[in-house]
Amino acid sequence: MSTLSTPSFLASGQCLICDRVNQADAVVCCACGAPMTLINEAIEQQREPRIITILGESNVGKTVYLGFLLDMLSKRAGGLEAIPKGAYSVNLQQAVIAYMSARQFPPKTPLEVDHWKWAYYQVRRQKELDEEWFDLLLPDMAGEALAEEIETPQTYRAITGLLSKSMGALLLIDAAVAASGSPHPDYFALKLMSYVDKAFAIGRGARAKNPIAVVLCKADYCPECFDNPRVFAQTNLNRLWNLCDSRFQNVEFFAASTVGALGFATSDSGQVIPMPLHAAPRGIMEPFEWILGRIQAD
């Protein structure tokens, strides 16, 4: 490996997420818990990665969605060529696919930042061989940590830092719960987008420009979601819809699902356990491709 000079915007030992300067041999950032290998990868690539943050409440399906997305990218889906940087980038998709193959949902993502999985990928369009590679950083964060950060900002510096440096965001919402009439997903999304509004704000009164893909997950429960996600959102997530209309320039709505059929088992203690009988990913790539397109257009 040739010796590279460090770009001015990157410094060895400086956390890529919170900018805190750590010891040269630190494995995780002492301030936010993000892995220091991220900055090393960025320095090696001589460019800062474009961060796309996956946001969503606990149990909405962020880990499964991201795992499938990364796996599909690895298989060059959507005409995209993607290369994982470091073995750690493969951990998430491997875990998700392994669990789903065994007809189980992957374990809950821990609240502790140093236990999150981070994916660092080099991506370019397969056909455009002369197109420059760009780097993507996709962290899988815990929904509860995000909820706490929304309630009390700066609780999780990793989230604060991630959002402040994100070029775009994927906001996952439980379409099944929304379709059942519960206002909870709408309220959570409203709070979340209010928080994101502050993070992406570019000036007083100005609407945020960062592309945000609102992904209506578990849409297999409510197939009408696939027909017209925008109408679905306007109907069932009206508060969110209105806020997006007022405060964000670049929002699009998508429907997605990963599970083809769901079964239910009962444990010895009487707990009902949902079991994915087979995977049928649908609408996974589209939100990502849309965001990518928006980012590249800028």
Partner: protein, 496 residues
């Protein structure tokens, strides 16, 4: 936080139950994963009104989530203690409460948080474990998966700490060497991560018990909770291998120790308190150490823990050193400035110890030990009123003890002391001593051997110069003169 209430009402320091017992009303909260109308996932699901929003956030970042305990036992428990930014303190008691509710495997962590201010914590000897024992006694540590959103403050009754028992247990597990080594590191300011295959909370409890109570609030810790870089404690007690933790902590100042090893790599202790504690524990005096940590060490001594440790060691060494060394030790202590009330108290104890030992040892000592020790004492220079008082009291005590068996010897020693520079300032105490010497000298004279009379006269004449009650001494001297004269004029028995 689901309760959302933030009235800021402070708890009363203490109130009385119906039976008259003085209880402490403490804020509490529950952090776990349940589904409620307000949401799902791990969060603070219930809290008392006095809990502030920021405090709630700190509970979220410190409490373990699913499978977050590292104890492999049948009923694992995790305990954490840390200061809050509000100035209060938080104690977390974590356990498992059934399976993770969304069916994704693993166990559901359930944490009961207790938030209390410094004054309230002091009621429990600054020991989070005492708080939890009181909570257990109050039935508050039971997992409640359908709690009301707003909890009442919990009334806890402080119980006797039983520090000595905890220290005695720690002598067996993890053992005195490890216990003092960990204490040494903590007191030196190190961040300590300890892996062990013993009862983790009990180890943390014993460590805190060996540290003076006022300092316990500075030792944030977790025991039995899975390690996370985001949760920074002064002390983390875990099970499992040290390797992953060492990897995570690379580049950060922390000391990782594995208690499954027979003993530490480097056993030399550096902090005086740890050395003193080690001495007391090695000699089977856990009760004494407990008395220091639980009662004798006050908040006013908090800045001088190392000085107090040194004072304890000095007192310990003084028990076995020779008489001359003992005098020098006392003088050295008296010349220094006291570093707090306990340091001063220990110096006073040393003085009492020295006076007692010298009083017993010197009258019975054989020359030249007697000469050396006595000379050292008599020739002490009065560099401070404390040394002057020590010298005065010790000499009087020795002279008095000597006079029980040899009153003339005692008077001679008193004269010697004065000639060496002792200033008789406390005349009332010396007057009382002189009266006793006179009485005993009189009794001695009645049975004295004629051959010793000239010497006795010499001694009394020597003391008369300094006597406080000259008439008393003059009368005894007169008696001696009369007896000497009698002996001289007595007819010589004929030779047979």
């Amino acid at each position: 936080m689901d309760s959302g209430s933030n009235s800021g009402r402070l708890n009363a320091v203490a109130s009385r139950r119906a039976d008259g017992a003085k209880v402490v009303g403490i804020d509490q909260a529950i952090f776990t994963c349940i589904r409620t109308p307000m949401g799902q996932g791990y969060r603070v699901v219930a809290a008392s009104r006095g809990l502030r929003a920021k405090e709630s956030s700190e509970i979220v970042t410190h409490a373990p989530s699913g499978d977050g305990l590292c104890d492999e036992g049948p009923e694992p428990v995790g305990i954490s203690f840390f200061p809050l930014q509000s100035g209060r303190f938080c104690i977390l008691h974590s356990r498992y409460a059934g399976a993770e509710p969304t069916g994704r495997g693993g166990q559901r962590a359930y944490t009961r948080a207790f938030v209390l201010d410094a004054e309230q914590l002091a009621r429990f000897g600054n020991s989070p474990f005492q708080v939890l024992r009181a909570a257990y006694a109050a039935g508050t540590l039971v997992a409640d998966l359908k709690p009301p959103t707003t909890l009442p403050t919990v009334d806890l009754l402080p119980q006797p700490p039983q520090i000595a028992m905890r220290l005695a247990e720690a002598v067996h597990e993890p053992g005195t060497v490890w216990l003092c080594h960990l204490m040494d590191k903590l007191l030196a300011g190190d961040t300590l991560i300890v892996t062990a295959d013993i009862n983790l909370p009990r180890l943390a409890d014993a460590l805190l018990a060996a540290i003076p109570a006022p300092l316990r609030t500075t030792i944030s810790f977790s025991a039995g909770v899975r390690f996370s870089v985001g949760r920074t404690y002064r002390l983390s007690v875990l099970s499992g291998s040290t390797e992953p933790i060492e990897r995570l902590l690379r580049g950060q100042p922390a000391c990782v120790l594995d208690l499954t090893q027979a003993e530490p790599l480097h056993t030399e202790l550096t902090h005086a308190w740890a050395i003193a504690a080690n001495r007391l524990l090695q000699t089977g005096r856990a009760v004494e150490l407990a008395a220091f940590t639980a009662h004798r060490f006050s908040a006013a001594d908090a800045h001088a823990v190392e000085a107090v440790g040194r004072a304890i060691l000095v007192c310990e060494d003084a028990r076995t050193c020779d008489t001359t060394g003992l005098i020098r030790t006392v003088v050295a202590r008296l010349q220094g400035k006291a570093n707090g009330p306990l340091d001063a108290e220990l110096t006073e104890e040393l003085v009492q110890l020295a006076t007692g030992r010298l009083t017993e040892a010197i009258p019975q000592a054989r020359r030249p030990v007697l000469d050396e020790a006595w000379q050292t004492l008599c020739t002490l220079r009065h560099t401070s009123p404390r040394i002057e008082r020590f010298k005065d009291e010790t000499i009087r005590s020795i002279v008095l003890r000597t006079s029980e068996a040899a009153p003339m010897e005692a008077i001679a020693m008193a004269s010697q002391a004065v000639r060496a520079g002792l200033e008789i300032i406390r005349s009332s105490e010396w007057a009382a001593l002189e009266a006793t010497l006179s009485e005993r000298a009189g009794k001695w004279l009645a049975a004295a051997n004629a051959e010793t009379l000239p010497w006795a006269r010499q001694v009394l004449q020597g003391w008369l110069v300094h006597a406080i009650n000259e008439r008393n001494m003059a009368e005894i001297l007169k008696c001696v003169d009369e007896r000497v004269e009698q002996e001289e004029t007595a007819p010589t028995p004929p030779e047979s």
